[in-house]
């Protein structure tokens, strides 16, 4: 097997599975096919790490930057599929979903995975745009899966805001093409990343500037940056929980990846406006705003959705600051956030199932009534809040220390936001995990395995990062400049 | 040889303070009575009282614990040790380096601490009143006292009493505003610490304003005797402290001969008598304060102590 085979597999497996799943009626088989496909995709993606990389073509490529994202994407895709397989049957029993819904769900899951994988491996700004749109539209449909007024409302909001975002990103893409076209000539080559990056210094900086604004707003909507975030909390809260995990853990990363790619382009052109300050501003705004919003949340999934906004803010801030340490920290934080937030959603799914509600006020004393789940949730939330030994602590350590030495005022705002968010998360956690257990007590079907697997990984990375991963992150951090 | 003589000197000092203390209390009472145109008990009455109390049986409150019974001895011992360390008629006592001025204050603090605990032991309301007020007074008197100690120590460059006395007597000091303030502060503290008017009235019972007497209300017999003796010792201690710091003359150096010693002794005696009379006059001419006026009174001492310390720097830098 060669690298290009693996690359093709990463894309072909989900498409094939989607077709198969759309045809199969039984949800049990489907759910395990879903898991198996996701696992195979993960294997294919992981094999990219060791195999020779395929030569970048006009449409696809694998490089140091996107391989991080691909492996992470397929990994969380697999664990979420596993969680979903143990979890989603219950929704059928409670009558929230019909078998037809589930068939649609599984097919869409793979299409969504395909869209995200494609966006990550694409070597073409047009193709990337198409792929991100595909992933967005498929998640819109997933969010509205329950057909409740709330879910439809959330899906609709997501759809409208997402569409506008897509349109703006497209305009940005067109502008980049226009900037590249005089240098690289007409046609497809002027949309290929590998060409763009090389030729970027000769691009018209003014055009690049306008393009970046549109791309930042457009893809930033997907990342969930404030003030483009409005779709995110509702979409997370109203969709099926495995999808919330995928949304928070993966889709945001894919959009972030797009932003990073264009940031590279901007930095390559010396005369263009520096993307850092813009990203720093939006990052801090997202962080502080989301931190305040955490205090008034009553729905557990919406709470963690806002926490995703907050963390996206931190990551964008880190990349905005730049430099080897901050970039390293940003990458690490992104990986950790994906793993931790999806772990949290795995736990939250079970909690919502047990208690029959997502209302924070009706969930109490989980460590008492369900120790493994409760303590798992406690550890995951503490991890996301930056408590050691999770990797989030390491990334926040690096971000805060390095940014304080370079931009003290910004670091102070950062610290303020972090603390604010910490206070809010902990307040809710204390209520949910401790105290006298109250409320209903339905049986729990969802597996705790993915939750604890993620936790183990988070702690492993926090304490002893594998050498290969370090080297790889350092390379990428250097690329990001 | 020198060691033995020093030991003897130390022993004499210890016996001396013990012997003189009740007399001083008697003297103050006598003078007060005379000033009030009363006959008054003889000066030696306190000795008789002590002897009588010693012989009497102890009536112990049902609830009293071992702490109540041992406290009088501890209080007495702490006060006695403290009093023995203050130079009275001679400096350079054998064990004067055992504790300095700060430790002296703290030793008295220990005595107060155990007395207050004992006050609470019987489980009565009066004991509690006494203890809580005593601790409040101590809370303000102790820092004032330490500030005085600071002033003195900063002037003399030592907290070691013997060295302080030597320095003070040497005439290098001159007259300083700081020292005057320290003196007034020390007198206020002494009045408060010894439960004298206007802070407390040593002669009353059955009065809600009493402090010291309320604490020792449950004591009787030999226990009461020890406490009374300790109180007298404390009065003497403060007198000799004021004497040796502010009137350091004619205190015999350690190596002095018997005649100097005798002279020192005589002057010490004179200082005590003068102090006792002055105290009585002061007590007669003031009225007892409400308890919650006491902090203001002690606050004056605190301020003076602090001012004294700070002025020291001003005068030095001038």
């Amino acid at each position: 097997m060669t690298g290009s085979d693996a690359l093709n597999a990463v894309l072909a497996l989900p498409v094939g599975a989607a077709v198969l799943l759309a045809l199969l009626p039984g949800y049990r088989v489907s759910s395990w096919i879903n898991v198996a496909t996701s696992f195979l995709t993960l294997l294919a993606a992981a094999s990219l790490l060791v195999l020779d990389r395929p030569v970048p073509g006009n449409y696809l490529q694998v490089d140091d930057l996107n391989i991080v994202f691909i492996v992470l994407n397929t990994f969380v895709g697999f664990t979420a599929a596993f969680f979903s397989a143990s979890y989603i049957g219950h929704e059928l029993e409670t009558g929230r979903l019909t078998p037809a819904n589930l068939r649609f769900y599984h097919a869409m899951y793979q299409i969504m995975m395909f869209g995200m994988n494609l966006a990550l491996v694409s070597n073409n700004i047009g193709l990337m745009w198409v792929a991100v749109e595909l992933a967005t539209l498929s998640t819109v449909l997933m969010v509205g899966l329950y057909r409740t007024p709330e879910a439809l409302e959330a899906a609709w909001k997501y759809f409208i805001l997402g569409s506008v975002g897509i349109a703006l990103a497209l305009f940005g893409t067109i502008l980049v093409y226009l900037a590249a076209q005089p240098v690289l000539g007409e046609g497809t080559p002027a949309m290929v990343w590998t060409n763009l990056i090389e030729a970027a210094p000769q691009f018209d900086p003014a055009l690049l500037n306008v393009a970046f604004v549109f791309l930042l707003v457009g893809y930033g909507t997907k990342v969930g940056l404030v003030p483009f975030h409005a779709w995110l909390p509702d979409a997370h809260a109203e969709g099926p929980t495995p999808i919330s995990a995928v949304l928070s853990g993966l889709l945001l990363n894919v959009a972030l990846y797009a932003v990073l790619r264009f940031k590279l382009l901007m930095t390559a052109n010396a005369e263009a406006v520096a993307p850092g300050p813009l990203m720093i501003g939006l990052g801090l705004l997202s962080l502080v705003f989301a931190a305040f919003m955490l205090y008034r949340r009553r729905d557990i999934k919406r709470l963690f959705a806002y926490s995703s906004i907050e963390h996206m803010g931190i990551i964008v801030f880190a990349f905005g600051i730049g430099g080897p340490l901050a970039n390293f920290a940003g990458l690490l934080h992104m990986v950790m956030h994906s793993l931790t937030k999806s772990a949290i959603f795995f736990a939250v799914g079970n909690v919502a199932q047990i208690k029959g509600t997502q209302q924070l006020s009706e969930i109490r004393g989980l460590t008492q009534s369900h120790p493994m789940l409760g303590w798992g949730l406690v550890l995951a939330v503490l991890s996301i809040a930056g408590m050691p030994p999770s990797g989030v602590f390491m990334s926040e350590f690096l971000i805060v220390t390095t940014s304080f030495a370079r931009a003290p005022v910004l670091a102070l705002i950062l610290v303020f936001g972090l603390l604010l968010a910490f206070g809010a998360l902990l307040l809710r956690l204390t209520g949910v995990a401790f105290g006298k257990p109250t409320g209903e007590n339905h049986p729990m079907t969802g597996s705790l395995l993915p939750l604890w697997l993620h936790l183990a990984l988070i702690y492993l990375i926090g304490l002893h990062m594998p050498q290969a991963m370090v080297a790889w992150f350092q390379t990428v951090a250097a690329i990001l400049g | 040889m020198e060691l033995i003589s020093n030991l003897i000197l130390q022993g004499v000092q210890m016996i001396l303070v013990l012997a003189l203390a009740p007399g001083l209390t008697g003297l103050v009472r006598k003078v007060k009575a005379r000033l009030m145109r009363k006959q008054g008990a003889p000066v030696l009455q306190p000795y008789r009282d002590l002897a009588r109390l010693m012989r009497k049986e102890v009536v112990l409150a049902t609830n009293a614990s071992w702490l109540f019974r041992t406290s009088p001895y501890m209080i007495f011992a702490a006060t006695w040790v403290a009093a023995a360390l203050v130079p009275t008629f001679a400096t350079g006592l054998q064990f004067s380096w055992t504790s300095d001025l700060i430790a002296l204050v703290a030793l008295l603090g220990s005595a107060r601490f155990f007395l207050a605990l004992a006050g609470m032991d019987a489980g009565t309301s009066f004991g509690g009143i006494g203890s809580s007020r005593e601790m409040m007074i101590g809370t303000l008197a102790e820092p004032a006292m330490l500030l005085v100690v600071f002033t003195v120590a900063l002037v003399a460059g030592s907290t070691q009493l013997s060295n302080v006395v030597v320095y003070m007597a040497s005439g290098e000091v001159g007259i300083r505003v700081s020292m005057g303030m320290a003196l007034i502060a020390l007198i206020i503290v002494a009045v408060a610490e010894n439960a004298r008017i206007p802070v407390d009235n040593p002669g009353t019972h059955l009065e809600v304003t009493m402090v010291h007497e309320a604490m020792v209300l449950e004591y009787s017999g030999r226990h009461l005797a020890m406490i009374e003796l300790a109180a007298s010792l404390k009065l003497l201690l403060y007198m000799s402290l004021i004497g040796c710091i502010f009137l350091p003359w004619s205190i015999a150096p350690a190596s002095a001969g018997p005649s100097a010693m005798l002279f020192g002794f005589a002057s010490f005696f004179a200082k005590l008598v003068a102090g006792g009379v002055l105290l009585a006059v002061f007590e007669i001419s003031t009225a007892k304060m409400r308890v919650f006026r006491v902090p203001d009174f002690l606050g004056v001492a605190l301020m003076l102590g602090l001012l004294g310390t700070l002025l020291l720097f001003v005068s030095r830098s001038l």
Binding site: L216, Y295, R296, Q467 | N63, A77, S99, G127, N163
Partner: protein, 667 residues
């Protein structure tokens, strides 16, 4: 040595994991606590060995933490001093817990966190790079938070835990900033690298300020102390002992390590805030202890006081050092270190005593106790030693450190800055006030709990605590006496640390006659706890013997006299509130105290009501407005959750136009 110490820390952490596995077994508690005690004892021995042999500093590196740096661990004299402190405190708490733990309702909420807490503290002391330091620091916070939440069903425990962890998070963030400043943008996180950097005075001042906030919030410095009186009492008593006795010292260690070791020279004026804050903390802490009526909270507030005292000592040391007077700086630092050691001893002892009382009666409110000296005689004796020590009375150990500190204060004329010359004696006066207030506080504490008559049935039926607890308390009490009577040994033990930090030390004390303490010169000052004890024992014993031998020894029991108004109801005794009344009135301004009396009209049979309210000014003036501001902001911003889609689009549109306009202008 370092290998052993690091191994012990890891063993303790591993023990936590093991405890999580075996938590169900009936013997788990004894096993975990026993093992912790053993490991802590070895730790103490390692520390002492290091100090006694004056072994060379040792470093090691384990591949954990920041990948390109690894975890640097280092054992030097300063670490060894605090390791000793931790080892002794940890061992005592663990031995105590063997007995105390039998009464725990939910051991599985304590056991998995307890050894790890000790291990994390050990790692903090050993850490030699910023990441390892903060990692262990935060794990220490986290595990102690879990321990605080043991009794999670009580609302106040949960809010205490919440407040604690938020403040801990705040402290860590501030420390992050401090280390960020010291490491620089390139990330020189290794302590060795930090030592090399030359810093401008402004930068050094900033780091110092950040350290005061960061380490101070953990130690309980005003006004960052608010979590401490809530969190320390909420934990099980052996954990309270550890938190108050040891964890606050670990915070101090952090401060000393950075300010004295890593930061390099500081200007004299930087010592001013340290001294002022320390003195204020001391006075305010003990004032609150004087008016609080919860036994463990009183102790927690008193911890704040002691931390203030230590900070004054550290500030003095800084002042002397900036004036080039290393020997005097060593005296002040020594006072601080010795006081830290002493405070660990007596505060642990007192928390254990409070825990024993809590176990025996189920009560922490002072007004529900009383007369326990009869029911728990051994605990009462040990607690008496504890309160005497903490009230800084000779001849016990609390006085020794206080005395050393006053000696340092009295050296202030040697300082060349008039500002400091004024400030230091004033701070000394405040310290004296704090010491006197401490005496008042602990008369009340001991008197209301152990003396008098029992106020409730629970107190009436209390039974003496178990042997393990008594052993632990006895050991600590013994050490309190030892440290008070033979302070020279302790000073000589700690001296290598001051030598390492300041290149100066106190003269060796071990060979002085009669175990006398002579910090500077005999002409200046000296104190011998041993002789004081000896004299008191001899004179007290002799007088008692004489009186009993020659006067009377008759004794009769009778109802209390009480001025002729004996009242059978124990409620008429002075309680916690009434005892505090004089001080509360005198200091009403600082306590924001408020008394209301509701007196029914004549003829009305309803009881009169007297209510007292005291407020922590820091809480009501700083935290309440802050919380209110955050709440207001959160409520205002929350409106943004409920906008229509059109409005959200307007936001996007507005931001886009803003960015484009900015771009147009920028060009």
């Amino acid at each position: 040595m370092i290998e052993i110490a690091a191994g012990l820390a890891l063993c303790l952490l591993a023990l936590s994991l093991a405890a999580a596995v075996v938590r169900g077994l009936s013997t788990a508690s004894a096993f975990v606590y026993g093992a912790s005690a053993l490991l802590c004892l070895v730790l103490a021995i390692v520390g002492i060995w290091m100090l006694v042999t004056q072994a060379a500093e040792a470093e090691m590196r384990i591949p954990v933490g920041l990948p390109w740096l690894g975890a640097h661990l280092r054992l030097d004299a300063l670490s060894a001093v605090f390791l000793t402190l931790l080892g002794v405190g940890g061992a005592a708490a663990s031995i105590y817990a063997i007995g105390y733990g039998q009464h725990e309702h939910e051991p599985h909420r304590v056991l998995p966190f307890y050894p790890g807490f000790l291990g994390a503290m050990t790692l903090v002391l050993l850490a030699a790079d910023a990441f390892t330091f903060l990692l262990s620091w935060e794990i220490m916070s986290l595990l102690s938070w879990a321990l605080v939440l043991t009794n999670h069903r009580a609302d106040e425990t949960r809010s205490a835990g919440y407040l604690y962890l938020v403040m801990a998070g705040f402290g860590t963030m501030v420390l992050l900033l401090a280390f960020g400043l010291m490491a620089g943008a390139e990330g020189g996180y290794d302590f060795a690298a930090m030592r090399e950097v030359e810093r401008s005075p402004l930068l050094a001042a900033l780091v110092l300020a950040l350290m005061m906030v960061g380490a101070g919030s953990k130690a309980g410095l005003l006004p960052l102390h608010v979590w401490l009186p809530a969190a320390h009492p909420a934990a099980p008593s052996h954990v309270s002992a550890l938190m108050s006795g040891v964890m606050t010292k670990v915070a101090l260690y952090g401060f000393i390590r950075v300010v004295f070791d890593l930061l390099g020279p500081v200007e004299w004026w930087m010592s001013v805030p340290v001294i002022v804050t320390g003195a204020m903390t001391a006075v305010m802490g003990i004032l609150f202890a004087n008016v609080d009526s919860d036994s463990k909270r009183v102790l927690a507030y008193s911890t704040i006081e002691n931390i203030g005292v230590i900070f004054v000592a550290l500030g003095l040391a800084l002042a002397f050092r900036s004036n080039g007077m290393e020997a005097l700086a060593a005296l002040a630092l020594m006072a601080g270190l010795i006081h830290a050691m002493n405070h660990m001893l007596f505060k642990s002892l007192l928390f254990m005593a409070a825990g024993a009382v809590l176990n025996a009666t189920g009560r922490r409110d002072l007004d529900g106790l009383g007369g326990l000296i009869h029911r728990m005689p051994k605990t009462a004796v040990l607690a008496l030693i504890g309160v005497t020590a903490i009230a800084a009375l000779p001849p016990l150990n609390g006085f020794v450190s206080e005395w050393l500190l006053f000696q340092a204060v009295l050296q202030s004329p040697k300082l060349s800055q008039p500002g400091l010359q004024f400030l230091v004696p004033a701070a000394g006066g405040l310290l004296a006030l704090a010491a006197a207030l401490a005496a008042a506080c602990f008369v009340r504490f001991y008197g209301v709990i152990f003396l008098g008559r029992p106020r409730t049935d629970a107190a009436r039926e209390a039974v003496e605590t178990d042997r393990w607890s008594l052993t632990a308390m006895g050991g600590l009490a013994g050490l309190c006496i030892m440290a008070g009577v033979l302070p020279g040994g302790l000073i000589d033990l700690v001296a290598p640390a001051t030598e390492m930090l300041l290149a100066a030390r106190l003269p060796a004390q071990a060979n002085n006659d009669w175990f006398t303490l002579v910090p500077v010169a005999e002409v200046r000052s000296s104190y011998s706890g041993f002789l004081v004890l000896l004299f008191i024992a001899i004179s007290g014993g002799a007088s008692a013997w004489l009186v009993h031998r020659f006067a009377s020894r008759k004794l009769r029991r009778a109802p209390a006299w009480d001025c002729g108004f004996p009242n059978a109801d124990p409620v008429t005794q002075y309680g916690a509130g009434s005892f505090a009344q004089p001080i509360r009135r005198v200091m009403a301004l600082m306590l924001d105290a408020n008394e209301t009396v509701v007196m029914p009209p004549p003829g009305d049979m309803t009881p009169a009501r007297h209510t007292i309210r005291t407020k922590d000014l820091a809480w009501s003036r700083i935290y309440v407005p802050l919380i209110a501001a955050i709440n207001t902001a959160a409520t205002r911003l929350n409106a943004l959750q409920f906008l229509t889609i059109r409005r959200y689009l307007s936001l996007v549109f507005g931001a886009l136009i803003l960015l484009l306009t900015g771009l147009a202008i920028w060009n």
